[in-house]
Subunit: 402 residues, 2 copies
């Protein structure tokens, strides 16, 4: 797996090009990214459940439903185009139209995404002026520039790729993301953009992406706030020229596995780059009545400010973990619950507590922390990823809007 | 209304006495409180919904269901008797028995409550040794001492009372509480203890308490974590010798109104004393499809770390408020939403934004902050109270277990 923070190597699927430039929305950093498929690609998307959803979310849903294929994804950072009413919706359309005009394609073949400040109108003229430049730049394609241009308060670009064999041919999945949580001062958005050269039909592609998102991008939390702009888009252009992957073909499971690896890798990078985060926390719940129950419990732990501050303080405060499972709403037998922090079992069955505080302290001094909860009920299990809650998080979110 | 932080005056209902002493569970502060009714009182209770509930919660439910009346409530602080298994259950019973023995009453006439560290066995011998002393102290009754003895990380005792006329006679409701949220280092619990000299049947008393708790103690949040020990107990001993208040009598509404005033007063004191809190925040949602929907939206805003850090930073970040309503799960028209911070309207219908940042900053510099959200849909409304999320909260919860 290519797992890279910046310029390290990764694999790119055939038939795509990308670019990232500065167009003047942010103060100095790159703020406009473009990914283009040489041919119309099958597209799938998952979007924020927030009722207050941004204009680009509405437009993407329309274009994926209407179009026979997608040629481009244009993304700006620095402005979320959320809570912007009719003018915002028009601006999202103008953004697609500007790129379509340069690429000589239909504007419904262009997906649009925005991230940044909520409640300010998009400076659409700046994007329209830059459309020609960014399309020209595709000639010297740079996926790294694109990954840089979608960031807001992120401290590093998030890129992940997988290259693997399927039905005798090579297939590549490449993805980029930004985070982290609803994140910074009035900034919105977890965004993920994926492209592959596999040949897959729309319903199979959507099914895969929806299921995998649940276990990856939807299994992370920084602050429990769901943004107005969240979206993950996946393009498949078939340039690998293998046989089509369908829900019935063997390739479906193989492709799904690798897609999940890319999505999980990106999701975990978002958590690692969580605002003010000093530790990466993996929470694994087993022995629940169902996977759904395990997920509810894992999410409750991941969203508990008390658990997250305890981890920040390197305190083996298992009572807060037990309490979070208790109020999560799932049915389980508290007397059968066991809890581990790293390799140290901090709670045994029947509320038997007998562990070495020094050993627990040592485990908690690491940067990567694992919390395992065994409910000893059914076969349900789930994992969730989060970061600690630090004074720096409060600093970042209290101090300013940009 | 008697609204007091420490030694200020308050009204006490007839036929009750109280005491608070140090028995050795904590390091130095008072840690054992007792409230006694001269005659068996009708009792009502509301308890934590946490599956991991403490032994005293189980015992209180048993005794309220079984008993013909309640004579005493014994409360220790410094140890939650939670996650303590069979030994914990036995200790809760021994605690009731020790007081019953000194008072020459049935042990099922004693309610037990504990707050403090989770997962350590109660030092029951210390409580048993102190039983005689605390019962003797009732002769020089002190409700203030009792209110002091139930505190853990609280910075001030929380007492509230109401004296009013009902059917020609005087009735008094007195209450004490501790907070604040699930609170401090492995500490658990929101506790509230109320007593009145009104004469009320058990089902009417329980109905009132359950409904009012929903709008008061259950409408506050500090960190969104539900404790293992939460309980609110209400005793009514009829010493005011008026006619019985029933669900059908005029007195029901009058008594309910004053009970709500006491419960709301105590609930708000808990929030004001929230860990690390620098501001008190009242959230009012109106124009929702139902009161239930309004409550869900208000709670989502109250639990948003991003909203709470923005208020701490005195930043009129209305986008975070709008986003919290958006992800709360209720149905509403985002275009019709209006938001005020204090007297400043920060969002008008149709996402029209036009307010004076300096004016907003001034409102936000106050210690008490009001957030009003008007959804312009139905007639549903609700209020929720919370505090800001500060660096001090992270400090308190990261640094130590006691």
């Amino acid at each position: 797996m290519g797992f890279t923070h910046s310029m390290a190597s990764y694999d790119i699927p055939r038939g795509y090009s990308a670019a990232g430039i500065y167009c003047g929305i942010k103060k100095v950093k790159k703020d406009l990214a473009l990914i283009v498929s040489d041919t119309p690609a099958t597209a799938a998307g998952v979007f924020t459940q927030n009722k207050v959803c941004a204009a680009p979310v509405v437009l993407c849903k329309e274009n994926i439903a209407a179009s026979g294929g997608i040629r481009a994804i244009i993304v700006n950072s620095g402005n979320a185009n959320a809570c912007t009413g009719n003018e915002g919706m028009l601006n999202a359309r103008l953004m697609a139209r500007a790129i379509a005009h340069e690429m000589h394609c239909d504007e419904r073949e262009v997906l649009v995404s925005s991230t940044g400040v909520i409640g300010q109108q998009l400076p659409i003229k700046k994007i329209e002026s830059a459309a020609s430049d960014i399309v020209d730049l595709l000639a010297t394609t740079s996926f790294t520039d694109a990954a840089d241009a979608i960031l807001t308060t992120d401290t590093f670009p998030k890129i992940c790729s997988e290259k693997f064999s399927i039905g005798g041919g090579d297939v590549t999945i490449w993805g980029m993301a930004k985070g982290s949580g609803m994140i910074a001062p009035n900034m919105a958005t977890m965004l993920g953009f994926l492209c592959t050269d596999a040949r897959i039909g729309q319903s199979a592609l959507q099914k895969m992406l929806s299921e995998i998102t649940e276990r990856t991008f939807n299994s992370i939390t920084v602050d429990g706030d769901t943004s107005t702009n969240d979206m993950v888009l996946l393009l498949a252009n078939g340039a690998a020229s293998g046989t089509e992957i369908t829900e019935q073909s063997d390739g479906f499971a193989v492709f799904s596995k690798h897609l999940e690896t890319v999505c999980r890798g990106l999701a975990q990078m978002i958590v690692r780059d969580g605002e003010g985060a000093s530790k990466f926390i993996e929470i694994r719940v087993k022995g629940a009545d169902s996977n759904g129950d395990a997920r509810i419990a894992a999410k409750a732990i991941a969203n508990s400010n008390l658990v997250k501050t305890a981890i920040y303080g390197e305190d083996a405060n298992w009572g807060r973990i037990a309490a979070a499972v208790g109020y999560s709403g799932i049915d389980f037998n508290p007397e059968a619950m066991e809890i581990w922090i790293g390799s140290v079992q901090v709670l045994k069955k029947g509320y038997h507590i007998d562990f070495d505080e020094a050993e627990a302290k040592k485990v908690l001094s690491e940067k990567d922390i694992t919390i395992d909860v065994q409910l000893n009920g059914g076969a349900g299990e789930a994992a969730f990823w989060t970061c600690d809650l630090t004074k720096e998080y409060v600093n970042i979110n209290a101090s300013y809007r940009s």
